[in-house]
Symmetry: C2
Subunit: 238 residues, 2 copies
């Protein structure tokens, strides 16, 4: 179940209904907190720690296999760098209980809406986390983003321990885009305390990026129009 | 305002509120129909024809400049191949009225949820429509998708008059992916009459694709697990 970025106004009725009708609500603790308003005393609530993704999915599947209706909650969309793929991978080991993926507004869409319309034309999403993906593959994808002139949303751009990946990503993109290419850092998109930094590829300060940030780098057609980051689709402006 | 794929259960409360509070609701006719349940007699309703995108945005901006609260409705997300970028481009010509982009569940996310989790790792969106984009740029992007091994959602894959673009796109991707790469056609995703064809890159039948379809082609790590299309994020399965 995708809860969207956090703001209940961006949580779909389908997601709300899935949580309300569940016998058990399972998720990373802070994501479970996003649906605190929906939980009732009759529900089992499992707040799972970060890093325990496999065990979290197993817990949900174990309960589903036992006949419970389970809502495994994720922020954003459960199919984008989240739990849906892992649940699908593990389901066969639990007797293949029925799985329904409830989509949500993913961080890239929430951040784009705050910025204007940077994803108005072709775009890509790349995670800079090399915990689960070999760094050479991430570099290959960044190079492809550069070669294809895609607007790109960088998920998991930087943490306290992973600081060099973002520098390297910016360098690869700078090889094919002008220094003035619009760029932005959106932190806690669609959540209380949302922060937005509007800048350019050359001036983007990696120190301002943390684990809760999404970094958006425009294509060569993206422009700052006032404080709005816009990638034209190609309709002729007057 | 992004209405999501069509099903009211995937329309966010923010989108519903924006339509309810609007003095005028403007949009492509079939998208206005998606919010028929919300419209009231006090609202001006402008159903705009297909192809009149610039005039549609001008109408919304003209009304906003005159002090009306206007909801310009799009299906999916307004920032993805839709009206948000054009509104931002044109706004300065109308005295720059305040513009708020209300995000929604875009077709790629709705289709992915139906399929399982094909967007579980890095992914891209490419529109095959060469009405507004030169075909060589689209080919360049498809080649980059192939080189970067991205799962890709192909928007506007085929219409009655544009039939060759999808063939060419599949050929480019086949240059870097095995024939058995999972592929799918989702038509009317998240709407009544939704149809899903689960297939492979080599067996995908372009004749089954129309203007209301989204085509999803997996990366080299994407798998069919039963009827679920899954791109693993990299957690080790048992």
């Amino acid at each position: 179940v995708g809860l969207g970025p956090g703001d209940a106004a961006l949580r779909t009725p389908a997601a709300t209904a899935a949580v309300r009708h569940a016998d058990a609500v399972v998720g990373y603790g802070p994501y479970v907190d996003l649906v605190d308003d929906l939980l009732t005393a009759r529900q089992a609530v499992v707040r799972s720690p970060i890093g325990a993704e496999t065990e979290r999915c197993r817990e949900a599947l174990r309960r589903a296999a036992a006949g419970e209706t389970v809502a495994l909650v994720c922020s954003g969309d459960p199919g984008v760098y989240a739990m849906a793929s892992l649940v699908c991978e593990l389901a066969a080991g639990f007797g293949d209980p029925p799985v329904t993926v409830v989509p949500g507004v993913t961080a890239a869409l929430a951040a784009a809406a705050v910025l204007g319309a940077p994803l108005g034309h072709d775009h890509a999403a790349v995670s800079l986390s090399d915990l689960l993906t070999p760094w050479p593959l991430i570099e290959q994808r960044l190079q492809a983003v550069a070669d294809g002139d895609f607007t790109v949303s960088l998920y998991n751009p930087r943490s306290k321990r992973r600081t060099g990946q973002l520098d390297r990503a910016l360098a690869i993109l700078a090889g094919r885009r002008p220094p003035g290419t619009p760029a932005a850092i959106v932190t806690d998109a669609g959540r209380p305390g949302q922060r937005v930094i509007r800048t350019t590829l050359a001036d983007l300060d990696p120190e301002a990026v943390d684990m809760l940030s999404l970094v958006v780098i425009g294509s060569t057609t993206t422009r700052w129009l006032g404080d709005r980051m816009v990638t034209p689709r190609g309709y002729r402006s007057p």
